[in-house]
Symmetry: C5
Subunit: 308 residues, 5 copies
Amino acid sequence: MNERIQEILSWYHGENPGVLTNLTRLLNHGELAGTGKLVIYPVDQGFEHGPARSFAPNPLAYDPHFHFEFPIESGCNAYAAPLGFLEAGAADFAGQIPLILKLNNHDVLQDEKDPLGAQTATVKDALRLGCVGIGYTIYPGTAERRVQYEQLRELIREAKAAGLAVVVWSYPRGSSLSKEGETALDVTAYAAHIAAELGAHIVKVKLPSAHLEQTEAKKVYEKYEIPRETLADRVRHVVQSTFNGRRIVIFSGGAKRDDDQAILDEARAIRDGGGSGSIIGRNIFQRDKATALRLLDGMMKIYKGETK
Amino acid sequence: MNERIQEILSWYHGENPGVLTNLTRLLNHGELAGTGKLVIYPVDQGFEHGPARSFAPNPLAYDPHFHFEFPIESGCNAYAAPLGFLEAGAADFAGQIPLILKLNNHDVLQDEKDPLGAQTATVKDALRLGCVGIGYTIYPGTAERRVQYEQLRELIREAKAAGLAVVVWSYPRGSSLSKEGETALDVTAYAAHIAAELGAHIVKVKLPSAHLEQTEAKKVYEKYEIPRETLADRVRHVVQSTFNGRRIVIFSGGAKRDDDQAILDEARAIRDGGGSGSIIGRNIFQRDKATALRLLDGMMKIYKGETK
Amino acid sequence: MNERIQEILSWYHGENPGVLTNLTRLLNHGELAGTGKLVIYPVDQGFEHGPARSFAPNPLAYDPHFHFEFPIESGCNAYAAPLGFLEAGAADFAGQIPLILKLNNHDVLQDEKDPLGAQTATVKDALRLGCVGIGYTIYPGTAERRVQYEQLRELIREAKAAGLAVVVWSYPRGSSLSKEGETALDVTAYAAHIAAELGAHIVKVKLPSAHLEQTEAKKVYEKYEIPRETLADRVRHVVQSTFNGRRIVIFSGGAKRDDDQAILDEARAIRDGGGSGSIIGRNIFQRDKATALRLLDGMMKIYKGETK
Amino acid sequence: MNERIQEILSWYHGENPGVLTNLTRLLNHGELAGTGKLVIYPVDQGFEHGPARSFAPNPLAYDPHFHFEFPIESGCNAYAAPLGFLEAGAADFAGQIPLILKLNNHDVLQDEKDPLGAQTATVKDALRLGCVGIGYTIYPGTAERRVQYEQLRELIREAKAAGLAVVVWSYPRGSSLSKEGETALDVTAYAAHIAAELGAHIVKVKLPSAHLEQTEAKKVYEKYEIPRETLADRVRHVVQSTFNGRRIVIFSGGAKRDDDQAILDEARAIRDGGGSGSIIGRNIFQRDKATALRLLDGMMKIYKGETK
Amino acid sequence: MNERIQEILSWYHGENPGVLTNLTRLLNHGELAGTGKLVIYPVDQGFEHGPARSFAPNPLAYDPHFHFEFPIESGCNAYAAPLGFLEAGAADFAGQIPLILKLNNHDVLQDEKDPLGAQTATVKDALRLGCVGIGYTIYPGTAERRVQYEQLRELIREAKAAGLAVVVWSYPRGSSLSKEGETALDVTAYAAHIAAELGAHIVKVKLPSAHLEQTEAKKVYEKYEIPRETLADRVRHVVQSTFNGRRIVIFSGGAKRDDDQAILDEARAIRDGGGSGSIIGRNIFQRDKATALRLLDGMMKIYKGETK
């Protein structure tokens, strides 16, 4: 194993060999194997936003097999999805791509200021499907986050005992936050820190804006002049807030955009700010396959340092 | 086993042999055995609407034995009912018809905008009664759907481990949906997708209207010109939204109507749109037996392709 | 065993021998042994209404031993009470009368539109006290009935596995029902059906009035001209609604009345309508003993068919 | 064992030898050993009202050891307290005084109309601390009493299986009761009856006033002219309401009063009304030790019948 | 073992040898080993207030390893933190400093009058990380404190059975308390007493002000002239309220202040009032290292009695 991977594993020194093995499987798979960088391919939008909103732009994406074939072909590090999508292909594509089972999900058929989501699968499901890890989304800032934190606590305990890696999506939400505040720098850094404190091996947050949401935090950012002008600055602050770089932090770009260059620029900022990579779904599967492969290739070149 | 059944079983490749066995029992029983199509006979209306509203039109239907005899005689694939109705005949008719135990039910003695229902039986009950599967109703869109999704998650886990098939009734409801929205195309497709993501083997939804309920979804349907004019179009979209045809999707027709022709037309649309069949209760047991048998025979001919 | 009892046991064909044994113990005890009719003596009013309201009319009734002695002496089929009352005599009168442990109870010290009650004893308690069965009260129509249905589901599962009979008191209540509606014919028949669907062996409801409460149901009763003029008509409809007579249905008369003749007339209506008997408490223990014994004797003669 | 104790044990005929042994330990300890009367010393006021309000009048009482020494020296039947106070001395004074572990407690740092309290210790704690029994407080009349009744049900089940005696403090509270109603005769008798129905071996209530709170109950008390003029009358009615004297019923006097004579008069009324004794805390430990010992000695003489 | 430590252990006479061993490890580690005094270093502010507010003043503190190195180097008795921070170094620094795992945490991303927090780790986690004890924060006075008390009850039971020490942070909060009331003397003493009654070995409260919050308590403090003028007086009252000195009580100073002298004066007051020491986080890690070490050294000299 190369030094970079050994260094990353050293952050997780206290974990059992099973966890270390599955983290290695993630880090040593695909185009970015051995670089310490990750591009993870997630497809939970069918559940989270509805099938047509997710897959109509590229009807091949209605098919769960498509979502196995694509990350295998493009060399992503892993594919993450809810129970049904994984069940629909895990046997057919067994052993071809590391799988992450998303254990909770939320639909948008009810208007909610403080969403909660539901745990829709278990650690035992992840094991029977041959996954390397579990995924779970928390909404720091919601009124009922206690329910999520405690559910996640038990899942983490069970996953680690079973040697699985734990990826936590940390998305600030809730009635006390403004819309802008959900991606504010202070709030994003806080959300990443919470995920790490809860025991996540890999933390996934949205790319933060320069906005500062909370009054008390704002004073501190301004007093200590924490840099936040460039996206790379902000990535750097989030990585620092997540145990000073001792945890893998990856970033998502959000809704589909047509501008490939903007997406590549984000990858550069993630790389330059010390982030560990991207989690990218809609911007891939809503493109036609050729374009998507080209975009992914561009991102991977950036993470491999082959492109400036 | 014929090729069509083998193809259907291939969709459930990752399941254990027990599940595959029970799916085969469902698919290879009755008039439609081996066609890959299903007509399931459900009787939960006594609980859901009250006994007189359900059975007064045909008082033979007050008797739980009637509901075993009827699907046996008419060659349905399975009979689905709550605990009490199955207990009242499962020993008397043991082995004569595949049984599905409805694990949750809801009554209408309380006015509710966000109904929840109660889990009224268990997987262990299904096993002791000799069932091939369990049924569960979710109400996507209700405020408390989390409770249902998590209850279903545990039941699915337990059922699959015990080799049982899982049928999920997915009925959008709740305070954020208009009455029309409950059967809107976007909402129905979303509900079917959620059921599949939760791990259902067989998804059961209502036949959708051409109405679109959710603003964000509507934009997508219009932008991508998803066909929704004919009922067959809409069935096709729902089937596509349910893992692109890799799950069995069946449709219910709703309240009793006198017009046999309309019901047969619906069966044609289900067939032509690629649906796997019908679940039909009130339109059968509220008719006199001869008429009901004739109607069922007509539907089965359509599903077998003997009628255009 | 005589034919009538064998016929009744045939309704419960699927149950294990333990359940069949305890149903037989109930049916073959006391004055009505072997008739297929039951008079059950319940004393939960101390908990439900308070001790003075229950026992001041006959202070002997404050004593839990009185409530064992009375049904033994008068030849009732069983005695049903909450934990404390049974514990206070179950050893002293062991084996002398079939006992039913009421597993939930509700007091009236809090004004509530949607009462819920509490589970105050367990199936294990019923076993250690030598009971033949458990009793549980549901309030169909209350906002929180889900809690009751699910609690009952677990108790039924455990009781049946332990070979105990299950008696469900089904009393419609809740904020969506009018006071008159709680004993309306449609609502009573619905409540009885629900209890049977939940798995009750014996269903206990109040004698219904001719009132119809629910709009949709009313249309059906009127359209199909379901007879409801006489009390016997209404009993017959409730029995029909409870699996068409394949379940034991017994009726309570409610608050104490001085008119013995009215109570005997009710017993006649229950008998003539095909009901399986009575559950009678306050109208017995609030009378002086001689009068109460005479009244019970009159009822039993009616059920035995010795009186017209 | 003397006849009186054997008679009391006969009330609990159905209990296992472990329970009978611990009831005997309670009844045969201290000054009142063998009389069938009990004086129990409880110290939960630190938790229930705060330390200074409880112990500032006699600062020795801040020390948990004081509360072991005092009932040992004065010959009380038992000492009852929450987990912490017992843990702080149970090893030091092992075997010197029967202990009762209070399993739930409530603080007054939040204004509440329907208090609930929390279960702060377990039956297993009672066993490891060498206790003869458990104590639990219910608030009949509160909106959430269901939670308490069900928690108590499980604790009683577990305690009885472990051979422990069960003491239930029954204090009517809640938004439907007036302040005066909390100690009304009808409500107190009802609360005592509920505690006994839930399975308590020993019921503890406050001394009732002559007030009648509930309309329906009031009619009955007046119609049947239930005596309630003297305190002894009211004690007698409560004892009658608690299984007609087949359960041990003890009474508390409430807040500290300076008038020793009034407290002794209450003991006389408890004795003359057939009560089994007193539970007395603040009126003891808030006095200086010499006065407190003299008062206790006076009470015990009354219970032993040495004083009129 | 010296006499002072033996005396302290005698307070916990009833505990098992595992608990006594871990209490000894705490008391016999670092600069204050053997003195009976403790300085514990806690770092949960990242979770409780956010990373930037906590660590921006001293960016080294973003790194979880810093928080192991610092208390090792400065000779604190123990280091306390949430799951993630301990996992990030427990293997690297195994055996070098006693660890306390904070089992619950609360973030400030939602405005709440009655905060609750979430249990974010378990006793099993504490064991696998080699901890000597667990920490848990209660908020006496909040509406939902029942949830916390019962969660803590189970954790204490499990921790003690596993031989772990239990530290309870007791911070009065909630909608019935004024802001000033949260550190009022009466409320602080009450909160400390509750923590001890719940079974804490070590109680941690904030230094109280002279304010009195609750009307009934105020009367008692004034009537009995409980001294509260000096900080030492108030510490003495809190220690007295916590089982009269039979429990270890430590105090926190709260937010960072620049004035070292004030912090040292507080340590003197804690010592002179009979407190067992300090828990000090932000006032240490938000200083530069040299200053922080000097301040800690000053505090320890005070606790050792080397400074007046």
